[in-house]
Symmetry: C3
Subunit: 257 residues, 3 copies
């Protein structure tokens, strides 16, 4: 840190199991990747190449190399996994992971209907080859999954070999964990936390208000995902109580406001 | 493409008459222009320097050279044409086009009231010197133009020499083709399409939901405009069914979801 | 300017006391800072490193040097001042200013409750060492400050040695000068202007509609703040009547629309 402030919450350090930040790259240039690494590489635990953007992005290998050199793992968005599965090309998907030497993969069913047993099979097959993140929650606003089912699915996916489970949101911060308005489904999150260890969950929270909500509920070192590249530094300040939104949240009681 | 996926809609290639993407540059730095070209130059068919931003941007010639070297044509936003016309400086405007060796120009009346016959004269005068895009639709939310009039104006502007006509939106995606909420005026678009060939129209659709709407209605190769630089890669995935929004739109019936 | 247009409002030049633009840097990379300076350095009068972002940003000294070399002063967001004060570390704050050779500082009470006399003491202490910007208005939407109190506080803060007073908004453009909807509290602004000289006020106006509103009320050379880096060029065009929003505002009456 650039100067000393008292009573700042302590942050975990890499490799983090909590306090984890997953950042969304939806088409950064190589230079933007270099900048991101220079500016906030220490705060980024993993990069997601959003949905199928890796299909159309030129210089993909060079981009992956930049992240690799910085020690930041990368995975391809779950929608791409689903695009392969729906086309009966799962083996081709594994070849893509191999070709690009990806060590992480996401298994999701946000856009397809997948029997949950079958989903767990995909997790366990991939878990033999890479570290698997699995995602729970539909991208379809009409499909409301009740809390007991979120918990049941998360547990089974962890049992099948998932390293962490992801609570789904869209890039814009709707559906899944959130109502159409972007508001958090609070009861859902609290019930999940009674059953699943928080270090096994990554909460997708692209909007500032959502990040603030999770930090106030779980603490500075909550695992958050779908963070935009230019919001990594701002998020770090929210985690530390150095932005208005969480300014007084981490102050000890003897400091009167 | 970086790997093989079956049943992906085929995209047109440059020079495109459909499947055309017009991108808005509202003040990019030279380095950002280089990055844009490297990252998605093959997906960009034309660049618009938004409204009067070219008046205040330093290093304009260098920027235009970068786009020229990449084979991407550039035009100045229609509001600038109007700023010259309202000041009785149309000849000065033509000198600007000449000075900067611009091969494309926009004729619009979004901010001024222009007799339609006079507008068509401007189109036909400029069409002798450059390729003209003409724009229909007001920037004033109170001026609702009925469909028959949109069609009549589009037809006359094409007859006057416009290469393509642009359906107006604002940078933020309101007015013109859209309601205040950003919602598409669906009946308007459908009626236009019964009379004007779709390859002669560019639909301004800065918001993701609007892009999705046009792609679902017209197909992967619809002409879209006012795309933000960092949304070119995401748009390309929406065109190809590789983002949740259009994921199942292009899949053949025999692939069950 | 790149070409000649008649009847464009004249803009003040650096060093400006009106027509001032304060830009928010919330974590730009060094390269983005260079780009910002190249692209619109002449339009930027001062940079704010938003809230506590300077605490977590790597290469802070290098960043400050880039701005210094470009002749653009920098100050740290008021929330950081408050973070030091609430921890009883005001002297440490002064050492930070000294260490980084900062010539400007902000005094605010957006997140803490500070006796106004005490706030003025902080202003007058700091004013002996640096140029002080002081900010009026709470970040708490529930704390509505009536106009007479805004005016009283602004006057006392200027008397205490503040160079300019800032009318508070959030990065997103709510609270303080604005309603939750982002709408300007018009009566408040007009009453303030009857009592405080406009060249002593910087209005935080991150949203385009807010910028347009102030420019229409006060003119091309209003002092505006919290401008996002990629909105500096667009703001400049709004000031000059070269974007639809203010297109006809600066045109003389003899030019008919």
């Amino acid at each position: 840190m650039n100067y000393v402030l008292k009573n700042i919450p302590s942050r975990t350090e890499k490799p983090r199991s909590t306090g984890f930040t997953m950042v969304m790259d939806k088409g950064l240039s190589l230079r933007e990747v270099s900048d991101l690494i220079e500016t906030c590489g220490e705060y980024i635990d993993i990069i997601k190449l959003g949905w199928g953007t890796s299909y159309v992005s030129p210089k993909l290998s060079e981009k992956l190399q930049l992240y690799k050199d910085a020690g930041i793992p990368v995975y391809l968005g779950g929608t791409l996994f689903e695009a392969f599965v729906i086309r009966d090309q799962f083996d081709d998907y594994r070849k893509v992971l191999e070709k690009y030497e990806l060590k992480f993969a996401e298994v999701s069913d946000g856009s397809i209907t997948l029997d949950h047993g079958k989903k767990c099979e995909y997790i366990s097959t991939l878990a033999k080859e890479v570290t698997v993140l699995s995602e729970v929650g539909s991208k379809d606003a009409a499909k409301i999954i009740p809390p007991y089912k979120w918990i049941d699915q998360m547990r089974k996916e962890l049992d099948a070999g998932a390293w962490k489970v992801i609570g789904e949101a869209r890039e814009g911060g709707t559906v899944g964990l959130f109502r159409d308005s972007g508001e958090v489904r609070q009861g859902l999150v609290e019930e999940i936390l009674t059953q699943i260890p928080e270090d096994r969950i990554i909460w997708e929270a692209p909007q500032k208000e959502q990040q603030v909500w999770f930090i106030k509920l779980i603490g500075a070192n909550v695992n958050l995902g779908n963070i935009a590249p230019n919001e990594v530094i701002p998020l770090e300040t929210i985690r530390l109580g150095l932005r208005g939104d969480t300014f007084d949240h981490f102050l000890p009681n003897h400091i009167s406001l």
